[in-house]
């Protein structure tokens, strides 16, 4: 590959990675404070997508549709916490996992029934299709926006977690929930906050996702949650920086895998990534970046 092609792929990887990182972070955040791998998380992307679809269908401007999409995803996330997960607060990890799976099936089918089982197209601003040209490179505006949004969100979240009281409380809870509680961090508030931020991230990632794919369908939530899950496993369940790193690693692997291998093998990129996940879990059950647990 020429230098230009490599540079092109790097930009693709950064763009895709930004999206994955946002998704992974949202998933890891909830896992950190509640020990829950929220399968219904992908449906927040679905909710964002369908909100935007229905609004733009009725003539609402893209900008407002985006805001509405993000808001609805955040609200949905809060509702999920309040009504589906709070009653299960002390359940086992697998019960929680399975409940979230059930929830995701419910949400998917709500859209299937209420809107349509079929894929619907959604048009973004024409800007996204255009690209700027820097030398031999052609960088789409979508990529630029994605990277910019991604970096902004990650930085903003970083500042929030480091400096604000709420953010510090949440980090403490993510590290060690029982100790944090003993020190006065309010459980319900911390968890609710985690779900709010997680919903926000899903909403933003959802906007980027839908802009990329140009369509919505009831099952669209499965791929985002799958990517987020792989990314968090790579980076370490419960590690927030790990989730971000995992997102970029996954994107890089995907982009280069597809670029380098023959097209006949390309459809196997998801299975291959998951094979990698199994290998990682075998040697490091808590993820790549997490410390090795004591055998006990």
């Amino acid at each position: 590959m020429s230098a230009a092609e490599i540079a092109q792929q790097i930009i693709n990887a950064l763009s895709l990675g930004s999206m994955y990182a946002l998704l992974a972070l949202g998933l890891a955040l909830v896992f950190g404070v509640m020990g829950l791998v929220n399968f219904a998380y992908g449906e927040l992307v679905t909710i964002t997508g369908y909100t935007m679809y229905l609004l733009t269908l009725n003539g609402v401007s893209w900008g407002i549709a985006v805001c509405a999409g993000i808001v609805f995803a955040t609200i949905a996330s809060l509702l999920m916490e309040r009504f589906a997960f709070r009653p299960l607060r002390n359940a086992s990890f697998l019960t929680l996992l399975f409940s979230s799976f059930a929830l995701s099936v419910i949400i998917q089918n709500v859209f299937r029934a209420a809107v349509s089982p079929r894929t619907k197209g959604i048009e973004g601003p024409s800007l996204f299709i255009k690209a700027i040209h820097v030398g031999p490179l052609s960088i789409s505006w979508l990529s630029i926006v994605t990277i910019a949004v991604g970096v902004t969100c990650l930085l903003g979240l970083l500042i929030f977690m480091r400096t604000s009281l709420a953010g510090i409380g949440m980090r403490a809870a993510a590290e060690n929930f029982s100790v944090a509680r003993l020190m006065g961090v309010k459980a319900n508030r911390v968890i609710a906050l985690a779900f709010v931020i997680s919903g926000l991230l899903a909403g933003i990632a959802g906007v980027l996702w839908v802009s990329r794919s140009g369509s919505v369908d009831p099952g669209m939530g499965f791929t985002p949650i799958l990517k987020a899950f792989i990314a968090t496993v790579i980076g370490g369940l419960g590690s927030l920086p790990g989730a971000v790193l995992g997102g970029f690693i996954l994107a890089a692997a995907e982009v280069f895998f597809i670029a380098v291998l023959p097209t006949s093998v390309a459809p196997f990129s998801d299975p291959f990534a998951l094979l990698l996940v199994i290998v990682i879990l075998y040697f490091k059950p808590n993820g790549l970046l997490a410390p090795v647990a004591e055998r006990a």
Binding site: V37, L97, A102, L103, I106, N109, P218, F229, L274, I278
Partner: protein, 367 residues
């Protein structure tokens, strides 16, 4: 396997499996009576028996070990595809399977040999995969079975030459009959109950309750899980083979998370700790699905109802979620059907205590 006969209120292989097989037999008779009437029961009941096989397989592993497996559908798929390779008539085989080697193209096997080979194929795959998976800790293993699900689906959907990809396979002969399906369901019951009451089964259940205490008591948790993994995968592959020879056509989506979720729901609803729970769960979900399917089709007992796409799945998921919140261990909780019957009898004839009751008064400090 060396069984341990426990007390008077024992989980007893004969008693549990006898009652369950009896229940299944009644269903089979209903099915036989409805043959020739054109009723949809001729499809529903054999499919129910086939579902029983996979639910029991999953109960054998997940119910006894406490480790949720999303990946058993991979073995059902192996059973189904191997069966297709062996039974699809040669004349259409080359259309269906583009890159099949000629020795397979000519193969046209009969019912039982096909089932045996398909089951062995699944067993072998599980034996290899289990070497890696069963060494992991519970959570990591559960996550890996999820990965296995997606990997298997990816292979089925993309290995076009041998699976025809997303378009799926067709042309299988109808070798599975009502009584054949019933027979295999009974086999599954016996295998499942025998396993649970064997030493390995007991050790596995101990590992479910407290893996650390189990290890300290001398149980090799890895080994117990491995044996259950391979045995349950064998049943799953068997199920795939029997199913394929009843439904005659299938595609990869039938081995993906929608179906997996449906089967897991059956376990959750009925109670994953027991064989009876698994079967009752399968029954409840089958009946519920059928009713909802009719509603989706526009009419319920002749009354017109607006079409709601995906209603079946949605209601099932809601029921599952409610059970998880309000009756976490499922309808039957921890006791088998025959044990519930005995409990009921004891309530009618007081004087002796049924299994699981709290001890009357203080247990004397002994020794």
């Amino acid at each position: 396997m060396n069984r341990l006969r426990r007390s008077l209120y024992a989980r007893n292989v004969a008693s549990t499996s006898g009652l369950l097989i009896g229940v299944l037999a009644i269903v089979a008779v209903v099915g036989a009576l409805s043959a020739g009437t054109g009723s949809s029961l001729t499809l529903i009941i054999p499919n129910f028996f086939i579902t029983v096989i996979i639910v029991i397989a999953l109960q054998m592993f997940t119910g006894n070990s406490g480790v949720v497996s999303w990946g058993h559908s991979a073995f059902v798929g192996i059973g189904a595809y191997v069966t297709a390779w062996l039974t699809v008539p040669s004349v259409i085989k080359s259309d269906v399977f583009r890159t099949m080697p000629s020795w397979l193209l000519n193969a046209e096997w009969s019912f039982i040999p096909t089932i045996i080979v398909a089951t062995l194929a699944g067993t072998l795959a599980a034996a290899l995969i289990g070497i890696v998976l069963c060494r992991m800790k519970e959570t990591a293993m559960a996550m890996s079975t999820l990965a296995l699900l997606v990997i298997a689906h990816g292979v089925y959907a993309n290995w076009f030459g041998m699976t025809r990809g997303a378009q799926g396979v067709y042309g299988l002969p109808q070798n599975t009959t009502l009584w054949g399906a019933f027979g295999f369901a009974c086999l599954a019951v016996i295998v499942g109950v025998t396993f649970r009451d064997s030493r390995v089964g007991l050790r596995l259940q101990a590992s479910r309750e407290d893996p650390l205490a189990a290890e300290a008591t001398g149980v090799s948790v890895v080994r117990a899980r491995y044996i259950a993994w391979v045995a349950s995968a064998a049943l799953a592959a068997l199920c795939g083979s029997v199913w394929a020879q009843f439904n005659l056509a299938f595609d990869p989506s039938q081995f993906y998370y929608t179906q997996v979720f449906a089967v897991l729901s059956m376990l959750v609803i009925g109670g994953m700790a027991t064989m009876s729970g698994a079967i009752i769960g399968a029954g409840v979900v089958t009946v519920l699905s059928q009713i909802l399917y009719n509603i989706e089709g526009g009419s319920l007992f002749g009354i017109d109802v607006p079409r709601i796409s995906g209603l079946q799945q949605m209601i099932l998921a809601i029921v599952t979620l409610l059970i998880l919140i309000y009756r976490r261990n499922g309808i039957l909780s921890w006791w088998e059907l025959d044990e519930w019957v005995r409990k009921g009898k004891k309530r009618l004839f007081p004087g002796s205590r049924p299994p699981g009751a709290r001890p009357m008064g203080d247990d004397k400090e002994g020794g």
